[in-house]
């Protein structure tokens, strides 16, 4: 049982969906991310995805691209990302943290070294965008053996024939990418999402979280009615970007304001099932 498994079990017992938040590690600087991480669970985040900045984020839209560039420009690195997790874990031993990013920085560190450090820091799962099941022996299988969840993306192009291969080595939860496209682009149609979630659930008992394109509390609520989790990334990253001044520094009180926005999204997700039941 990982923290992810426990968290989704708890939420299932409570009859509500998980609110999954994404921020980029080190955007715009280390201290801000640490402040946000520490505040996210209180603001209603059930699962935290922490982006590992990469120079060439091929599946990301302008918001998350820019956040990675800001972070790298301010000295973000894989070691600092892991340090953020370690510091977060000093105060929180229950909120799952999933590292999300691209394979090259991990490969460059060496898979074995990375896995050792990630586990030691308190990471629970990995989402690596450019590692499809065809490349499972690279990181997915070693990560599972080491006790980490490897969360796979399923997409609208993943048909029923392919789905079993995608789900085979997936654990923790399944991340359904609700649109064909990059992060932060078009918002999904709730109707299509419901059909897709049901389709995936026919193939797996794992929770299914839905992301890409969810921007408002209302959209988050709509997704949370049918999925086991709603992921919001670009909208939070945009809220962070809005707080950055011309000098590249955060405005005073910025972390609180971002967390306030996160709180609204969280309310949307957490009230969704109640609203539906009424």
């Amino acid at each position: 049982m990982t923290r992810l498994d426990r968290r989704f079990d708890e939420l299932k017992a409570q009859g509500r969906a998980a609110f999954v938040t994404f921020i980029t590690a080190g955007d715009p600087d280390f201290e801000t991310t640490l402040g946000l991480l520490n505040g996210l669970p209180g603001a209603g985040a059930d699962v935290i995805e922490l982006g590992m900045p990469f120079t060439d984020p091929m599946a990301d839209g302008p918001s998350i691209q820019a956040s990675a560039q800001r972070a790298l420009g301010n000295g973000a690195s894989m070691m600092k990302t892991l340090e953020l997790v370690r510091r977060f874990r000093e105060n929180d031993n229950s909120t799952p943290i999933v590292l999300m990013g691209y394979y090259n920085p991990i490969y460059h560190m060496s898979v074995e070294t990375f896995l050792g450090r990630a586990i030691e820091a308190g990471v629970d799962g990995l989402i690596v965008v450019d590692l499809p099941p065809e490349e499972d022996d690279e990181l997915c299988v070693p990560a599972m053996k080491a006790g980490l969840n490897f969360i796979r993306l399923a997409t609208p192009t993943t048909d029923d024939k392919r789905l079993p291969a995608v789900l085979a080595n997936t654990s923790g939860f399944v991340y359904y990418v609700s649109i064909t496209g990059i992060t932060g682009s078009a918002s999904p149609q709730a109707r299509n999402v419901e059909a897709a979630v049901n389709r995936i659930k026919r193939h797996t008992a794992l929770p299914v979280a839905v992301g890409f394109g969810i921007k408002t509390p209302e959209q988050a609520a709509e997704i949370a009615r049918t999925a086991d989790g709603a992921v919001v990334g670009s909208a939070i990253v945009d809220a962070i970007a809005k707080e950055i001044g011309a000098d590249g520094k955060m405005a005073p009180g910025a972390v609180e304001r971002v967390l306030e926005f996160v709180g609204k999204l969280a309310n949307g997700v957490h009230a969704a099932r109640k609203a539906a039941a009424e």
Partner: protein, 423 residues
């Protein structure tokens, strides 16, 4: 045709170096399919479609016909007599009485002025077989963009070309050519606005427009099957060279030289010769301002293995695995990676990779213009610069073939600038 026969015999030989990639798209540890799940079904689809097309004589006949009547193949194998004489003088002056006999493979004479069209033709015919109705591409120097825009115009398909803003600035004539051909050129500002950023943006477009769009990659990079497929379409360069050299000299060349951006013109020349151990193979990377300055694009000489744009290969990267921007005077060589098959040829030692600076390429650019009446593109000027270093050290009966893969019209403004001339 004896040349063709030689090629097909070596293909079936046991322990062939030409058998790669394997089922997973790997050349040794290099290559693979490191793409987002959204693209994976498309990449598998493409693999299957390409296999079928490759086995279909009608598809090959279609390509052959267009290569002849539209592209103008075959391209000549030209004895560069004055360059040869010049380098023999250089050799004599150094007291060694050598100087290899230098041939140019004249792929700059192709329609659109470079080798890029060989690949575009094959891929657009494949795209149409697959029922795709929209073509996207990335471009650096603009040669691939122009070649893509050209075949799109010819076959009536809409074309979107991603190009970095830095490259748009230094390759203006090509930007206008693409627009004349009816393509939409989308400027890419992310990163340093060069080829790798254009490729990221093209991939983002593809992820978004999965239904109708075909991504026409311009070099031997990207996820499997692109590196193998682009190589196959470019191999006509080496196949012709083999046949032409047999006719001219009655034997195989002793060495091959080609410049490397992603490595497609080089793979096209090299591949048919991989199983001929007497043929030495040299790939020339861009050393920019010098490898030691860090401002270069020599992925093999100055990089390490990593994963980018769908494959594992040598990359320019920092200690954190972040991709570093390259530098080269030549926009077409300004790429921080290299095709995975080259990484494999490098590690197995079958090919040797060297590098040439901006300065040396500029000198070769002018030398070729004056001695041979051929203004080369800055990309093959890198290959030529290496030829001018290597040829004088070799005996006179050494047959050397350099791939003159592009003409220099696109570069005259940039070169004038570097030489301090205002046009």
């Amino acid at each position: 045709m004896t040349g063709k026969k030689v090629a097909s015999v070596s293909l079936t030989k046991a322990n062939s170096l030409r058998g790669g990639p394997d089922e997973r798209g790997r050349f040794g540890i290099f290559g693979g399919r490191f793409v987002a799940e959204t693209l994976m079904p498309l990449v598998l689809d493409l693999d299957q479609a390409y296999r079928h097309a490759k086995a279909d004589p009608a598809f090959q006949a279609q390509i052959d016909h267009m290569q002849r009547d539209y592209v103008g193949r075959e391209s000549p194998l030209y004895f560069a007599e004055r360059l040869t004489a010049h380098l023999r003088e250089k050799s004599a002056a150094a007291g060694s009485k050598g100087g290899a006999k230098i041939y140019f493979k004249r792929d700059e004479l192709n329609h659109t002025g470079s080798h890029k069209i060989n690949n575009c033709l094959g891929q657009i015919l494949l795209a149409m077989r697959m029922g795709k109705t929209r073509i996207i591409a990335e471009t650096g120097a603009g040669q691939h963009g122009v070649a893509t825009a050209t075949v799109c115009a010819r076959f009536g398909l809409p074309c979107v070309v991603y190009m970095g803003t830095t490259d748009i600035e230094r390759q203006k004539p090509n930007v206008f050519r693409m627009k004349l051909l009816g393509a939409e050129v989308i400027p890419v500002t992310s990163g340093t606005g060069t080829l790798k950023d254009a490729m990221n943006e093209a991939l983002r477009d593809w992820v978004t427009n999965v239904e109708n769009t075909y991504y026409l990659i311009g070099t031997v990079a990207g996820p499997h099957p692109y590196p193998a497929m682009v190589r196959d379409f470019q191999s006509i360069i080496g196949e012709e060279t083999k046949r032409q050299m047999m006719e001219r000299e009655g034997r195989l060349p002793d060495s091959l030289v080609a410049c490397i951006g992603g490595g497609s013109n080089a793979m096209g020349l090299f591949h048919p010769f991989l199983d001929d151990p007497s043929v030495k193979i040299y790939g020339v990377e861009a050393a920019g301002k010098g490898i030691e300055t860090g401002e270069h694009c020599a992925s093999l000489k100055g990089g390490s293995p990593g994963v980018l744009h769908g494959n594992r290969t040598y990359l320019l990267q920092d200690e954190d695995g972040q991709i570093k921007d390259g530098h080269s005077i030549s926009a077409g060589l300004d790429y921080p990676g290299i095709g995975p098959e080259h990484s494999w040829l490098h590690e197995t030692g079958r090919a040797e990779y060297v590098s040439v600076t901006d300065r040396e390429a500029l000198d070769a650019f002018q030398l070729c213009s004056r001695l041979e009446g051929i203004i080369p593109a800055l990309e093959p000027a890198h290959a030529l610069a290496f030829v001018t270093k290597l040829a004088p050290t070799l005996p006179k009966d050494h047959l050397m073939v350099m791939n003159l893969c592009g003409r220099g019209d696109k570069d005259v403004f940039a070169v004038a600038d570097h030489l301090g001339v205002t046009l």
